[in-house]
Amino acid sequence: MEEALLRIQDLHTTFYTRDGLVRAVDGVTIAINAGESVGIVGESGCGKSMTAMSVMGLLKKPGKVDGGKIFFDGRELTAMPPGEKRRLMGNKISMIFQEPMTSLNPVITVGKQVREALLLHNRHMSRAQAKERALQAFELVGIPDAKKRYGEYPHQLSGGLRQRVMIAMAMVCGPGLLIADEPTTALDVTIEAQILHLMKDLQEEKGTAVMMITHNLGVVAQFCHRLYVMYAGKVMESGTVKEIFADVGHPYTEGLMRSVPDMESKERLYNIRGMVPSMLHLPKGCRFCPRCQYSMARCFEEEPEMYEASPGHFVRCFLYEQGKGEEMP
């Protein structure tokens, strides 16, 4: 098999808090191929954002990567000197966030911010060239009246336009990988649809791989090729979107899917009982077992590995130890 563009191998990210160690990311392995869009799904606190922050090297104290390796384009990010890593970030790997207002500088015009990103990574580019490229990027992401908007400040733009500026900034250097952390969560649904389509167009046109972090299964179904489902710091299930949505594996994923009201049936919604465990006191054995409707005695004692349910579809659940075999009870 070809070497993946991004390979996260057994990543451990720990927060050293006063109350104890919080293993926000606890042995996560993820691979993203060039040009592929991969969804990372889970509820708040499952470690999906921290995985991305670990890749970007944006972890804040008391968080620290203390195990595992991250490879990008065959090079090990985790062993790279800071200067070299900085040249890669924002250039070959870029990231967009949920709330564009907090990631844009409020006192610099949006045009200048995009231009700066270009100049930072292209030493030999003149200011005029950079402006030209930034304007092209504005047009590419569908900002109407790009020339006028170029000289405006973030607060003068709507949420949707700000997110377009962020995407322009992220894409202007032609990255191989775009990490999008809940990029449409703060947006209205008609604007969300616009932004998702824009991202999909750019991805297909430029061949950029996208790591889409979201809690919205609909966004994954619409946008991604493959997905990873995370729960309490671990990947519980991975596979293609088509496969998982048609034949869900892990009881947690199943619960998530059945909890979402689907605009068709009014039947009583399924509830995953209980709530997400505290990361300070994780249950023994499988971390989902206290909430799982299929849990067996064994689940409370041993931790399951990722078992291959069908080719390319992995599930961290004892029910799949012998492949898919029998149907779930």
Partner: protein
Amino acid sequence: MSGKTVLLETRDLTKEYPLNSNLGIKSRQVVHAVSGVSFEIYEGETLSLVGESGCGKSTLGRMLMRLIEPTEGQILFEGQDITGYSERQMRQVYQKIQMIFQDPYASLDPRMKVGQLIGEPLVTHRVCKSREETCGRVRELMHMVGIRPELIDRYPHQFSGGQRQRIGIARALALNPRLIVCDEPVSALDVSIQSQILNLLRDLQQEFKLTYLFISHDLGVVHYISDRICVMFLGKVCEIGDTQEIYRRPLHPYTKFLLQAVPSMDPNKRQKREQILAGEIPSAVAPPSGCRFRTRCPYAKEVCGEREPEMKDVGERKVACHFAGE
């Protein structure tokens, strides 16, 4: 539904905010937050206000509670015009209308214990005669919303978001209200918790014959919880009618695009480009002339800019579009 009684009614309810200039001088411009909204809420039903941010759904919800004073129009509760009620008169009304808020972190006083929080409405309205009675009622309420009564002496920060929302619901239920205004009650919650709260709200409604005005931007949630929906765009009502019928066959173009924009959980049903609404929400300071949706509407004709569409009856439904029902 036949023989249904109207619990609450609004007539041409309008809220305009004067726009302050940077120097604090009032300018003549106003923000048209809600413009001439009329609807009825029937007893025992759930009516949802749906729309994107800035459509005026929250302002409307707050006006019903008189937390925001309407600029014009009337609110009738149980047939009485409460628009001009004094604060004292409103106290009577508040026993019958309660509210649940979006952010369970911001809406509970962090220095009060759960028991005090839930008991507060009982105390202010002097419903219970003794401390024991109050305490008993609080425990009963906690049980109803699914919080263990032993936790009565805990503080809000010791609870998760879902549990806090349950506390907010218990508070709202304390006075046996008839109508509960739910302002985005599940938007801040994770999906697995969201479904628990939605089921709780539905159970409580059946048990206590509650009426809900449910404000939400999430069309999946709205479909699940409501009997009827009222779709709003930029301070105006586009369409009111039965939930199932509207989802099956939306008559207003905005409703249609809103429903199409929701990312489907079916990966084989990918959204097509022509299903996406272009453009942005226009400014509420200078809304477009005529129909407020016309600048984004792909079907807009000349008449849409000239005349404002009136609410038309199309079957059981009301639609504000010149071409509805054609």
